[in-house]
């Protein structure tokens, strides 16, 4: 029986199971009921946690843009998000004519469910983790793919030309940014030898951001694009097609698209810290699971803050720039990183086997770091002159629009004196 202070989650679960067993329920039903309750807590918890995220995002956004952010309702404006929630719960659902009922209503639910389902496999502490699925990493990407289905349904279901166009531009962006994400996730799986997220965290004696920095950068960039945030937020950008795919939604359905959006921002930080920053690992995390949870939350808030800074400081990309970045820079770089890491690590590890485990880890990480630096340098160099050459050619061709005054209609000389 873990004592309460060191491991509250384990204590509650253990206590609950013992209580049910004492009522004489068979072990299987206790396990199922425990699963159901754990799932309910996680799902409901993540939905209400989103309120805190909305408040945090608006507050930090305000401070970054040198303004206060919500501070009226409650201390530091904490209850602003709750007030917004109550308001939006009583909003009217305006459903336009000719709408495909089932598809129209299923879209917001699917786009929120796709984000919440990511929480099922995240390991919070050494004892408390949602589920140790042995295909955890692929499950994350597959569930991320379901969000695109939600967007397609939203665009097509609302029977609106602009929503349809907006939805397909959004899906084109999401689909193309999932390629570098899937390839960069290969590296943590390679280095840890397992797809279980718990196993990945446990084998991160050296954080994977050190031994696979390129994969970490590409994963972070493509998950921001997958979330449709700041530099890649072409989906609901004002300058683009009206309001993207969620034009025809109102009330809580419209709200749920943004609940999914805010929750996804935090989930990205959580996944990044689990996959690349060593999850709950830290001094003393094995003995005291609560400490592990604190470490995880610390790393996640830092990454969440970095995500917000990126969101509030970078201007928006044009859609062709966005596609160029993805297909010409991120995907080749991710493939290069996988190839370089695989070859160099396998080639070198034969000679390192004589070293002591600690030294082995350090030297291997140093070599991997070098490999990544090499790939990054050649990538940037290659990318650089490819993009420049194209830019120079394009600029050379087009006549530069110089503000030249209109040639005045030249009257014949002798009419100089007349007043026009």
């Amino acid at each position: 029986m873990p004592n309460f202070w060191s491991d509250p989650f384990g204590f509650i679960i253990q206590g609950f199971n013992n209580l049910l067993l004492s009522w004489g329920w068979p072990a299987s039903t206790v396990q199922v009921v425990g699963d159901a309750l754990g799932a309910f807590v996680l799902v409901a918890g993540s939905l209400f946690f989103c309120l805190l995220l909305i408040w945090a995002e608006r507050k930090i956004g305000g401070r970054v843009q040198d303004r206060l952010g919500p501070n009226r309702v409650g201390p530091f404006g904490l209850f602003q998000a709750v007030a917004d929630m109550l308001k939006i719960f009583t909003k009217e659902f305006v459903t336009p004519t000719g709408v495909d009922k089932v598809v129209y209503n299923l879209a917001p639910i699917l786009s929120v469910a796709a984000v919440i389902m990511l929480w099922a496999v995240i390991p919070f502490t050494i004892t408390f983790y949602g589920n140790d699925l042995n295909v955890g990493v692929l499950y994350l990407v597959a569930v991320g793919g379901l969000a695109e289905m939600g967007i397609v349904m939203a665009g097509w279901g609302s029977n609106n030309k602009f929503a349809l166009l907006g939805a397909f531009r959004a899906v084109a962006q999401l689909v193309s940014y999932e390629v570098p994400m899937v390839i960069s996730l290969l590296l943590p799986v390679m280095l840890s030898g397992s797809m279980k997220l718990n196993e990945i965290v446990r084998s991160q004696d050296v954080w994977f951001i050190l031994s696979a920095p390129i994969a970490a950068i590409i994963f972070f960039i493509s998950s921001i694009a997958e979330n449709g945030r700041a530099p890649f937020d072409l989906m609901e950008a004002e300058s683009e097609i009206v309001a993207g795919f969620n034009i025809e939604y109102s009330g809580l359905k419209f709200g749920f698209f943004f609940v999914g959006d805010f929750l996804h921002a935090f989930t990205i930080a959580l996944l990044f810290s689990v996959l690349f920053l060593g999850g709950w690992r830290g001094p003393g995390a094995d003995q005291i699971p609560l400490l592990g949870f604190v470490y995880l939350m610390l790393k996640t808030t830092i990454m969440y803050f970095v995500g917000l800074l990126v969101r509030f400081s970078l201007p928006r990309f044009r859609i062709d720039q966005m596609m160029n970045i993805n297909w010409k820079m991120l995907t080749p770089l991710a493939l290069g990183a996988v190839i370089a890491t695989a070859l160099i690590d396998k080639g070198v590890s034969r000679f390192l086997v004589t070293l002591t485990p600690v030294l082995y880890a350090i030297v291997r990480t140093a070599i991997l770091l070098l490999a990544n630096a090499l790939v990054l340098w050649t990538g940037m160099d290659l990318m650089g002159n490819v993009l420049e050459r194209r830019e120079r050619r394009v600029v050379a061709i087009e006549p530069r629009p110089v503000a030249r005054p209109e040639p005045l209609p030249v009257e014949p000389e002798q009419s100089e004196g007349e007043v026009p």
Partner: protein, 118 residues
């Protein structure tokens, strides 16, 4: 193995039903005053012009296509990545050949300009 999927199944059902329940509650709470103007599709205020089914460029199709090819490539690469620690250098080179073949596909798509956004 099955208990994992039982948990995932329960989790999936719950994450579909809780938002749906919230929407149903909001539907009950919210006022219902439909009017023909309110229910017309939103087109920046002007009447909808022409049918909703609008034409598209083939550009979207090419993105989904390249994504499909690289997605299917991961079916082979993830088991290989799982077993990476027990592989010899020759086996790793085989997988690198696999990646290189598909990298040439990507380079072909880039050079042909299919991935540009017209």
């Amino acid at each position: 193995m099955l208990s994992d999927w039982l948990y995932i199944g329960i989790f999936m059902l719950l994450s579909l039903f809780l938002p749906a329940a919230a929407i149903v509650i909001a539907g009950i709470l919210g006022p219902k005053k439909p009017s023909p103007i309110k229910n017309s599709t939103y087109e920046c205020g002007i009447e909808t012009v022409g049918e909703t089914w609008v034409q598209f460029k083939a550009q979207y199709y090419v993105y989904a296509l390249v994504f499909l090819v690289f997605d299917v490539e991961t079916i082979f690469l993830y088991p290989w990545a799982l077993a990476y620690n027990q592989l010899t250098f020759y086996m790793v080179a085989e997988a690198v050949l696999f990646i290189l073949i598909l990298l040439t596909g990507l380079i072909y798509a880039i050079r042909k300009g299919a991935l540009e956004w017209q």
